[in-house]
């Protein structure tokens, strides 16, 4: 016999049903009370922001999705007077122009070469940036040595491989944007490392040269560097040697990016404790071994997020080459806008929206990666 039955009937034998959680401290209403309506000014702000969103967001959705025209062959598809309904974004324009936006005037029969290069680039980038893929050393060799050579011959052509040459003034659109940003990163990273080492060198002349180069380039806008590459570079070269106009901006962009990369790498070098240098020196290794095997691997690892951020800036800055007449994505979009076959009031907005979406997807993706890497590295340091 248990105690409960003996002591009488006033002790419950069955548990009460659990109460519902109080509505004001848990659940969506409480969340709204805490996060949206916690005080009078807060409520006012919430209402204002909600009103602003109400004014801005539905028309955007209406324009870009609901009223948008998805298919069509020419401007008639996107003219309000022809279609007989309000017309939003003219995606038909982007759709018919997608080949031009992607490859420029690259011959259609040769476009598989561009696709192949893109595939190689994706492989290289994933190999290097995804921490769980092994053999990073081979990955670096692939991305910084094999890939550039292969890409060069694939894109420009090589008679001995049976690839007909394609002049760079036929290149355009996303292809050029990717070429400039990839060359920018592939050249600027090693060059930036060298400049950063030079800036921290004990040899006065090397240090002076590095400092002057870095500060000079960082002190001027990219557009003046591009103007310089475009107008002054041909003057400085022996007569009759006219470098390709794409090559000129590649030189300009690479040198520009190298100066920024140098400062990022220098930040990493400075973050390495002195003991690492001293430890290396006490083991008797030389300068290049110390840097290459001990300091740089650590320094570069901690600045990966910053390198990616610099690369995001570089990627956005490639759009500036359109000002000096290179047909990158922005320029191909601009050039398509003057086409009378697609002259509608909404063509411009559609073209710009496509370009903005392209840049946003890439840059946002890279910045998410760099933040993820930052968190990963931060935990690595705390343990």
């Amino acid at each position: 016999m248990s105690m409960a039955t003996q002591t009488g009937g006033f002790v419950r034998t069955v548990g009460l049903e659990a109460k519902k959680p109080p509505i004001l401290t848990a659940g969506p209403i409480a969340w709204m009370r805490d996060n949206l309506f916690s005080s009078i000014p807060n409520t006012v702000l919430t209402l204002l922001a909600a009103y602003a969103l109400w004014v801005i967001v539905p028309p955007l959705i209406q324009f870009f999705i609901i009223d948008a025209v998805w298919t069509g062959k020419d401007r008639d598809a996107c003219l309000e007077s022809v279609v007989g309904r309000p017309v939003g974004a003219c995606w038909a324009f982007v759709d018919t122009r997608l080949g031009y936006f992607t490859y420029g005037q690259y011959p259609v029969s040769e476009r598989w070469r561009v696709n192949l290069v893109a595939l190689m680039e994706i492989v290289g980038v994933v190999w290097l940036l995804w921490p769980r893929v092994p053999y990073k050393g081979w990955g670096s060799i692939f991305f910084f040595a094999v890939f550039p050579v292969a890409a060069f011959f694939l894109l420009t052509g090589a008679e001995w491989l049976g690839l007909p040459p394609v002049s760079t003034n036929l290149w355009g659109g996303i292809l050029v944007t990717m070429v400039i940003s990839t060359v920018g990163i592939v050249v600027s990273l090693p060059l930036g490392i060298v400049l950063a080492l030079g800036r921290r060198s004990k040899l006065p002349l090397i240090k002076l040269f590095s400092v002057i180069f870095i500060e000079f380039v960082r002190g001027v806008p990219l557009i003046t560097v591009l103007f310089m590459a475009n107008t002054m570079l041909p003057l400085f070269l022996p007569g009759g040697w006219r470098p390709d106009s794409l090559l000129r901006v590649l030189v300009g962009v690479s040198l520009f990016a190298a100066a920024y990369m140098a400062e990022v790498v220098r930040g990493g070098l400075q973050a390495i404790p002195k003991g690492q240098y001293e430890g290396a020196m006490s083991l008797g290794v030389g300068y290049w071994q110390m840097m290459g095997l001990i300091i740089l691997p650590q320094a570069l690892k901690i600045v990966i997020p910053n390198i990616v951020n610099t690369f995001i800036g570089l990627f956005k800055d490639t759009s500036l080459v359109s000002i000096v007449g290179i047909f990158d994505l922005v320029k191909t979009v601009e050039a398509s806008l003057v086409d009378p076959r697609w002259a509608t009031p909404v063509t411009r907005a559609s073209g710009y929206a496509f370009a903005a979406l392209f840049y946003f997807v890439f840059c946002f993706g890279m910045s998410q990666y760099s933040q993820w890497m930052e968190r990963r590295l931060a935990t690595g340091h705390n343990h």
Binding site: L45, L205, I206, F227, M232
Partner: protein
């Protein structure tokens, strides 16, 4: 002994090849030779090429008459009265500085608002600010400028159908036309009064600090300064008989005449630079505020400071130490980015000087070097000022 000799590098036992000093000298000599060779080649090629292209060299073009007009100038410039290329340089420089200065002020205000909003406990405000920052930061400035100029300002109605707003303000595809203030003859007294008010506020602030240091009494510094700076000029303005009239824009058949015009190129550039830079400033502000540890505000609360005092006297001064250095580099970026004006035709330094003047004179080397020199000077002056500020504000550690 021999080890010591070897370490000092003065023993005969060390081969010259392995002597760090000799190696260093050799590296530097090689670099020097390379640089000298590089410059020699470049300059001698340039001389030959310039002679072949029959382009003059030197800065003689500076005083030559420029045969073009600029539509937005702060100083008079016209091809009719023989303005020179040198004057065109100053026109461009002033336009650059104006758009940069206004842009810096607006971007700072918007950036601080957005940075604080992103940390707001109000969910919707924080998300709106975050969306703004991510969208703006992840698209190229050039594209944003093109959108502002070609997609927002250009489709506005023709001048004859201007959108009119209260206060005689008109908006059309040639810009924003506003009433132009015209100062009367005694208006200068207002400026003088403003100067006196600023000086008086500084004097009062010093006095208030002295009083606080000696007695602990806090005088209303901000209120007094506000009263002085608004009140004194207002009094002078009224005493002089309100000497300010407005030139109102009038709508004629095809166009608007009179008033003050803000050109669409300027407006688009300003809007683009402001919104773009503000997104970066917002991130700096957010990082700065997050960098102040929570213990600081808790300690100040424990000392009995109010919420406002905690923010003003404890959190913000420490956050500013983190915010100011990246903020200055954002200001520099904004100034350098104003060179994108060339894409939408605002006559800034690059558009006027490195564009039109370069095309007319063909003297690429001189023109580009001068243009770069200007930006370089601005950057160097800013970084010197920055280093001075940093050395004053940096945390003094034990």
């Amino acid at each position: 002994m021999s080890v010591q000799d070897a370490m000092q590098g003065n023993g005969a036992k060390v081969s010259l090849l392995n002597d760090p000093k000799a190696r260093g000298m050799a590296y530097q000599a090689i670099l020097l030779v390379l640089i000298v060779f590089f410059f020699y080649e470049a300059i001698s090629n340039a001389v030959v090429n310039l002679r072949a292209a029959k382009i003059a060299s030197g800065f003689g073009f500076w005083n030559n008459t420029a045969g073009f007009d600029v539509n937005q100038t702060l100083i008079p410039f016209s091809s009719n009265d023989g303005s020179t290329y040198g004057r065109a340089f100053f026109v461009g420089l002033l336009n650059t500085l104006v758009v940069a200065a206004i842009g810096i002020v607006l971007a700072t205000i918007l950036g601080f608002i957005m940075g604080i909003a992103r940390l707001s406990r109000n969910w919707i405000i924080a998300k709106v600010a975050a969306t703004y920052v991510e969208v703006v930061r992840n698209t190229p400035l050039l594209l944003q400028l093109l959108v502002w100029y070609n997609a927002v300002l250009k489709p506005l109605p023709e001048p004859r159908n201007s959108l009119s707003m209260p206060g005689s303000i008109y908006l059309n595809n040639r810009g924003l036309v506003m009433p132009a203030p015209i100062a009367g003859e005694n208006f200068n007294w207002t400026w003088i009064a403003l100067g006196i008010a600023i000086v008086a506020s500084i004097v009062f602030a010093r006095y208030a600090r002295k009083v606080q240091d000696s007695t602990g009494r806090i005088l209303p510094r901000g209120l007094v300064a506000l009263g002085l700076i608004i009140g004194l000029p207002a009094l002078a303005f009224l005493a002089a008989g309100s000497p300010l009239t407005f030139d109102l824009p009038r709508q004629s058949r095809f166009n608007l005449t009179g008033g003050m015009q803000v050109f669409p190129e300027f407006a688009a550039l300003l809007a683009g630079l402001t919104f773009y830079t503000a997104a970066f400033i917002a991130e700096n502000v957010r990082a700065g505020i997050l960098a102040v540890s929570k213990g600081q505000s808790e300690a100040s609360m424990a000392l009995g400071l109010t919420g406002g005092q905690t923010l003003r006297l404890v959190v913000i001064p420490q956050a500013m130490r983190v915010i100011i250095p990246p903020l200055t580099s954002q200001y520099l970026n904004l100034t350098k980015n104003s060179s994108l004006a060339v894409a939408i035709g605002y006559p800034d330094l690059v558009q006027v000087f490195a564009g039109t003047v370069l095309n007319q004179t063909g003297q690429a080397i001189e023109v580009i070097l001068i243009t770069m020199g200007v930006y370089l000077t601005i950057s160097l002056v800013t970084s010197v000022a920055m280093n001075y500020y940093n050395s004053r504000k940096a945390l003094v550690e034990r």
